[in-house]
């Protein structure tokens, strides 16, 4: 149970003392590391955005080749920066109640920043310019702009960023489900069914849902990215464009969407501290998040409305779920937050003002998005700058604003003060005028039919880019003014955290004076959350073990010579057979790892398990290209060894998954198998 703060700084509402938990140094440090790195990346990418808008306005002369390089970096970098910062904010509020692993979080940081560097090198040095959504097969039609190594660097970078997020998601899932009685407990299902007297804290429910959906999206992203990496060294790999597009958008849309839900988890905890009213999960809240759990992963298909060959049911389901996804946001998150603020004698500080205005960005930007998700409307707005308008509204005016609010909140708590009203109102007003002005120019131009991702604007539309550039400059000024207010707060926070004032008397003159002396570093931090419980094996009991054994026997069919021979009539069937062999190995590994003797011998090694479930399936898919397996098809023993190696990859994956506990173990085994199936569906040729 978290410790409630005995005394609060004056920046927070006095009533908040009853429910504001004390945080530990590690939470503040890791939260700030991620948020500050994220905001720095966002600032740099924002500068690139300004360069693009000025190019469209004709104010600077960037060649189309460079424009699209910059555009690719801007998109990939922004997503990474916002994701990093959102992860930090969520980690900060979640670790107060759940024992998240610092080492895994720092591992995520390394993977994501390393990935961002690879993307930077691929675009600025290698010239890669196929957009961060890299729709296959565009990366392999460079028209002289980029070379193969830059493709490898870009895809490896994206894999690394996605893996970093996957590690975060897995740790969140393992710890929230461990602390709150399994998945049903952590998402509040048991509370909804009156099995639990109390619901988990809101941030636990939100983070669990986001982590689960995030793991699904990362798997789709890994499947297509590994296919693309395979294509870089084997031109025989081809793609089913429709399936590939589904995977890209399932990954890309979902990850971009999850960022805002991730930051919202921190807002549930931080905003009430300024309103002095606690925010607790109710049955409506739980119901909303359970709905969001499904809706977040089903809405992506609205990116494929204009792909008329997409199955009709998927288009219709997507339009319904796109609209339905508005309900939990509008009726629960945004509405509840405004209820907390209304008549609360709200404490207006830099952090709390940013947090409040951020709510409006989600409401307004979300409305623009929902309008565009109606199919007959999308028929006239798809891939116009209307799309750019709505996602910039909630990324600039909600996500970025909330990240600044999160940093400001941490600093204000330690500094026990905030910036002056004039300074903060000026900065925030500049951001609002600039931000809404910029997105307004895109909304109007989108209604005019101006396409997105144009280095050169259609004739007669330059005025929108000129006005947009001016507004973007205003936003940048406001953003910098906010940062400028954070610097003295950071200095003050540092000083108060490390030094304290002490009244002294000068022994010579007898005069009294105030001295700053270093705080006693031996003062204990707040106690850590309860340690994680020991991980149980994913397969529990004779029934589950018997079922897994039966499935292994059935999947032996993937090794029958007749099946292998029949599968070689088509690349897709052949890859499906490989997936079957991997399935057999994975189940076998899970089965063995869940039995008492093997489990004891393997020991409690979640880190090793995580490495296995991430690395081994990836290696297997990189080997699953025609260049490797076609030469073996004429040699019986080598061919059989290749297929056995695929099952061996599965075995290692299953053993790794068995070290991750019930939920994460089953989920990662399922996702590894799903990844091979997605790979089989998307790749053709050879």
């Amino acid at each position: 149970m978290a410790t409630v703060t005995p005394g609060l700084p004056g920046t927070l509402h006095p009533r908040a003392a009853a429910f504001t938990v004390e945080t530990r140094s590690i939470e503040r440090c890791v939260g700030l590391l991620f948020a500050v790195s994220g905001i720095a990346l966002i600032a740099a990418m924002g500068l690139l955005g300004l360069v693009m808008r000025l190019t469209q306005a004709g104010a600077i002369n960037l060649s189309p080749g460079w424009f699209y390089r910059v555009m690719t970096l801007h998109g990939g970098g922004m997503i990474t920066g916002a994701l990093l910062a959102a992860m930090g904010a969520t980690w900060y509020v979640l670790r107060a109640v759940v024992p998240l692993r610092t080492s895994w979080m720092l591992g995520s940081y390394g993977l994501m920043t390393g990935g961002a560097v690879a993307v930077l090198v691929a675009t600025l040095v290698g010239g890669f310019a196929a957009a961060w959504t890299f729709l296959p097969p565009l990366p392999f039609y460079p028209t002289g702009l980029w070379s193969t190594w830059s493709e490898v660097a870009f895809f490896a970078g994206m894999m690394s960023i996605g893996t970093g997020f996957f590690v975060f998601c897995l740790d969140v899932l393992m710890q929230t489900t461990g602390a709150y009685g399994g998945l049903r407990g952590a998402v509040g299902w048991r509370f909804l069914r009156a099995r639990d007297a109390e619901a988990p804290p809101p941030q636990v429910i939100a983070a669990t849902v986001v982590a689960f959906d995030g793991a699904l999206a990362m798997t789709a992203g890994a499947a297509i990215t590994l296919g693309l990496l395979g294509r870089t060294y084997d031109s025989g790999v081809g793609f089913d464009v429709l399936v590939a597009k589904n995977l890209v958008y399932f990954f890309g849309h979902t990850i971009a969407n999850l960022i805002i839900y991730l930051v919202a988890a921190s807002v549930y905890v931080i905003l009430p501290r300024y309103a002095g009213r606690p925010y607790e999960a109710t049955k409506v809240f739980v119901g909303g998040w359970l709905a969001a759990w499904l809706l977040i992963v089903t809405v992506y298909s609205h990116h494929l409305y204009m792909d008329f060959v997409q199955p009709r049911w998927a288009e219709v389901a997507s339009t319904i779920s796109s609209y339905a996804s508005l309900l939990p946001v509008a009726v629960i998150t945004i509405y509840s937050m405004t209820m907390l603020v209304w008549g609360s004698v709200y404490r207006w500080t830099l952090a709390s003002t940013l947090m409040y205005v951020g709510l409006a960005g989600w409401a307004i930007g979300g409305t623009g998005a929902v309008i565009d998700s109606i199919i007959p409307i999308n028929f006239r707005f798809h891939n116009t700058v209307w799309v750019v308008a709505h996602f910039h509204t909630y990324l600039m005016l909600t996500v970025v604003v909330w990240i600044l609010a999160f940093i400001a909140h941490l600093l204000e708590r330690d500094a026990e003060g905030t910036s002056s009203p004039t300074k903060r109102i000026t900065a925030i007003a500049l951001m609002l005028v600039g931000g809404y002005g910029l997105t307004g120019t895109w909304f109007v131009a989108g209604a005019l039919g101006v396409p997105r991702r144009y280095a050169l604007q259609p004739p007669g539309t330059n005025g929108y880019s000129v006005a947009g550039s001016v507004f973007a400059l205003l936003f940048a000024l406001g953003f910098l003014a906010c940062l400028a207010q954070l610097v003295p707060l950071a200095r003050e926070a540092w000083q108060r955290r490390h030094y304290e004032e002490e009244q002294r008397v000068n022994s010579w003159t007898g005069a009294r004076y105030t001295a700053l002396v270093a705080r006693d570093s031996t003062v204990e931090d707040a106690p850590p959350p309860a340690p994680a419980v020991a991980l149980a094996p994913p397969l529990d009991g004779p029934r589950q073990l018997a079922l897994a054994a039966a499935a292994c026997v059935v999947s032996l069919a993937a090794f029958f010579p007749q099946v292998i021979s029949a599968s070689e009539t088509s690349v897709r069937y052949h890859h499906l057979d490989h997936a079957g062999q991997f399935f057999l190995g994975t189940l076998l590994g899970l089965l063995l790892g869940s039995t008492g003797a093997v489990s004891r011998r393997l020991g409690d090694r979640p880190g090793l398990g995580l490495t296995a479930v991430v690395v081994v399936p990836a290696v297997m898919m990189l080997l699953m290209v025609p260049r490797f397996y076609e030469p073996l098809e004429g040699h019986g023993a080598a061919h059989a060894a290749y297929h056995l190696a695929l099952a061996g990859c599965g075995l290692l994956t299953g053993l790794g998954a068995s070290r991750l506990g019930i939920l994460a173990g089953r989920l990662t085994a399922f996702l590894a198998i799903a990844m091979t199936l997605m790979f089989a569906a998307a790749t053709t040729g050879g």
Partner: protein, 178 residues
């Protein structure tokens, strides 16, 4: 060709602007009243009363708007029937349309594909107003049915990022007099 506004984009833009202004006004009002001291009981009583109606309103709007929209899907159904089939092929960075000209009032079926990467077939009528779009995908044929009454030169722009000359990938389609 200079772009021009047209329906339904103007109507949709106006509806969005009105909703955005109403939302902004609501946030300003709540923000102004945030400094006052209203009891938690009163906030809950009014807030939850209003929330039920807010939810009901959004559900009704959703059922109506999404429901009606499902009767107006742009997807072509069945065979070409009596339609004139225009084979559209996109490639880096060109559009090929066969035939490139039809009489006004012709019921056209655009059969759209690509020879290399994904492109977006965006059709702007002679006034410069975007009237339809569909993706051009390698390996797939997307079928778009339209009746083109207005004579003149229609412009085609690429509406899916396709590489270096995406912004200048243009084509034309002529609708002659009746």
């Amino acid at each position: 060709m200079t772009l021009h506004f047209g329906d339904p984009q103007i109507a949709i833009g106006v509806v969005f602007a009105v909703i955005a202004l109403l939302l902004a006004a609501a946030f300003v009002v709540i923000g102004v009243q945030a400094g006052s001291d209203i009891s938690a009981e009163r906030v809950h009583r009014i807030g939850y009363w209003l929330r039920k109606r807010w939810l009901a309103l959004l559900v009704v709007i959703g059922v109506l708007v999404v429901g009606v929209s499902l009767f107006d899907l742009p997807y072509a159904n069945g065979g070409a029937g009596g339609r004139t089939v225009v084979k559209v092929t996109g490639g880096q960075f060109f559009w090929s349309l066969q035939p490139g000209r039809v009489p006004a009032g012709t019921r056209v079926r655009f059969d759209v594909t690509s020879v290399d990467v994904n492109h977006g077939f965006g059709l702007y009528e002679p006034g410069g107003h975007l009237i339809a779009e569909v993706q051009a995908m390698p390996g797939y044929d997307n079928k778009l049915d339209l009746t083109l009454d207005r004579p003149g030169k229609y412009e085609i722009r690429c509406l899916e990022f396709c590489g270096l000359n995406h912004a200048t990938m243009e084509g034309t389609f002529v609708v002659g007099g009746r």
